[in-house]
Amino acid sequence: MSALLEVSGVSVTFDGFRAINNLSLSINEPELRAVIGPNGAGKTTFMDIITGKTKPDTGHVLWGEQSRNLLGMSESAIAREGIGRKFQKPTVFEAQTVRENLAMALKNKRGPFDVLFYRKSAEGATRIEELAAEVGLTEQLPRTAGELSHGQKQWLEIGMLLAQDPRLLLVDEPAAGMTPAEREHTTDLLVRAAKTRAVIVVEHDMEFVRRLNCKVTVLHEGSVLAEGSLDHVTANPQVIEVYLGR
């Protein structure tokens, strides 16, 4: 089992402020990983780097069996490599229906002409139904995404993420705005997804992380502060200091 994604020695500076500082982290396939850290630790920026949104000043991001460098690639090419992302603030296409949102995310050819001549297939429709059922949006399929509640938008975005069938899922604060029951459902979903793929979850809520029951990476000021089981990292005096001292 070799690493699916390997981030090494990455640094990013925004106007002289070092948001990511010599960060190294690697994840296997399959694996579930929780990333925690105080506000501004650089968790979202870390995801921005992997997905091509932010170009780092130094470092490498290597991907897959051939250890391809993701840094020179465009956002869309990285997504096609099999890296899917859920944003911290739910971003779905509000003017379109839940079904259209899911259909767009479905794993299919992405070229303009493939899409132009793509016509709805029975399998596609079934897959959308399955995904909707999985995220509890079956009833909402014909509704406009803009009409959904905050929690439902979160679900829709998770559904879109699953629809892409990525090898690596980057999930930024999935449980924000969800009820305890919904949180539990989200945990199940992520744990199940991580049986066959790599999943990186950013979350503030310790209870949530505990239920994920996986290796935890603590970020602080743009670099890894501690790594290991949740009990292991929470026993780390530096981590306690960072969390209590903020």
Partner: protein, 392 residues
């Protein structure tokens, strides 16, 4: 596939039906084919309006659906007009020159004929040489190909440069506007090879045909109607299904679309180019009905009007663009053509030929602020009320 698409898009069928009825009505009333109630010049006006509708739906796809506020699509329209105009002018001058030389005792050589045509066409700009871009002017098929290829290529290159550097929003609009301005200024020059500000004229005459204007006008009207129908179906197809979904998603949040794995720039380039090609076709049908094309037609303001039509008609719906283009362009010719009675306020007389633009500008502002869905939005009220009706 096409069938299922048309069946599921009822509004397309409704539009085609309306267009067919309109065409039939005009045919029955025209001079050449019917009662003669509609004058030849009005048939031309209607035919030109159909061409404007065609470029308006192209504009709606690129702006209303894909979110690219192009202020340059009239440049593509003009290029289409110039491309067909070159053949029309060349072929007609050729016929005239050959006709007048045929009385000579010694048959004219082809070089002499070519010189004579050159002098006829380029005399106004003090030249008789054929510029390089006229190399294919003798060939109708090649100039017809140029009608779509030249706007398509220009859009492809321009779009590639602009989209690749991720120029968006107002900056992109300014860039397209600059492109139009540059093209129009270039064409104004005498040595542009396209007769400078004289433009191309006499385009209403069909070389090698002795049909009268009454017959020609109705034929061009039919051709324009067919082109609009086909263009409508083409664009309805593009904006339906998944392609439409992706295009609208790009309009609303292009960054997010990238993270779904779609190469946004390719999609924009596709939309920009295909609409430019259709704009070229619209122009190629328009100018033979107008009879003359000159660089002023390509001036940046024309492309701005186009955006105004689409906004007033209601962007994001193809029939809205048709309504906007028809309504505003016909109204505009009524006002500027002196059709509207001037209003004497006693101390001041409102002369509509001067005040029409002010009125248009005001309506644009009002529509944008108060009715962002434009005239087409009225159809929503009708359907919503109908849906509510039985329940209440």
């Amino acid at each position: 596939m096409k069938n299922s698409f048309l069946v599921t898009n009822r509004s397309v069928l409704v539009f085609l039906l309306c267009l067919a009825l309109f065409t039939l009505g005009v045919t029955v009333l025209a001079e050449a084919t019917g009662a003669g109630v509609i004058s030849t010049s009005f048939v031309k006006t209607l035919g030109k309006t159909l061409c404007l509708c065609l470029i308006a739906i192209a504009m709606d796809v690129v702006w209303g659906y894909c979110g690219i506020l192009s202020l340059g699509h009239f440049a593509f329209f003009g290029i289409g007009g110039y491309a067909i105009g070159m053949w029309l002018m060349y072929a007609r001058t050729h016929d005239i020159v050959v006709g007048s030389l045929s009385n000579d005792v010694i048959p004219a050589t082809s070089a002499e004929i070519s010189d004579a045509i050159g002098t006829q066409i380029f005399g106004v700009v003090g030249s008789s040489e054929f510029p390089l871009i006229w190399a294919f002017a003798h060939s109708l098929p090649l100039q017809l190909a140029a009608v779509v290829i030249v706007p398509g290529l220009l859009a492809l290159v321009f779009g590639w440069l602009a989209f690749r550097s991720r120029v968006t929003g107002v900056y992109l609009s300014i860039l397209t506007q600059a492109m139009t301005l540059a093209l129009s200024l270039y064409l104004f020059q005498n040595d542009s090879g396209l007769r400078g500000n004289n433009g191309l004229s006499g385009l209403q005459n069909m070389p090698g045909s002795d049909l009268g204007q009454d017959v020609l006008s109705i034929r061009f009207f039919w051709a324009s109607a067919v082109a609009l129908g086909l263009g409508y179906v083409l664009f309805a197809f593009v904006i339906s299904g998944k392609m439409g979904s992706v295009i609208r998603a790009i309009r609303d949040d292009e960054a997010r679309v990238r993270f779904l794995g779609y190469h946004v720039e390719s999609y924009k380039l596709f939309v920009f180019t295909i609409t430019a090609m259709v704009a070229g076709i619209a122009g190629a049908l328009y100018y033979p009905q107008a009879g003359i094309i000159n660089p002023a037609e390509i001036a940046p303001i024309a492309s701005i009007y186009l955006a105004v039509w689409v906004a007033i008609g209601g962007r994001g719906r193809l029939y809205g663009a048709v309504i906007g283009a028809t309504f505003v362009s016909l109204l505009s010719s009524w006002f500027t053509g002196g059709g509207a009675p001037n209003i004497d306020l006693g101390f001041y007389e409102i002369v509509w030929t001067d005040w029409w633009l002010v009125l248009l500008g005001l309506s644009f502002v009002l529509v944008t602020l108060l009715f962002p869905k434009g005239i087409g939005g009225l159809f929503d009220y009708i359907t919503i009320n109908r849906e509510k009706g039985p329940k209440a």
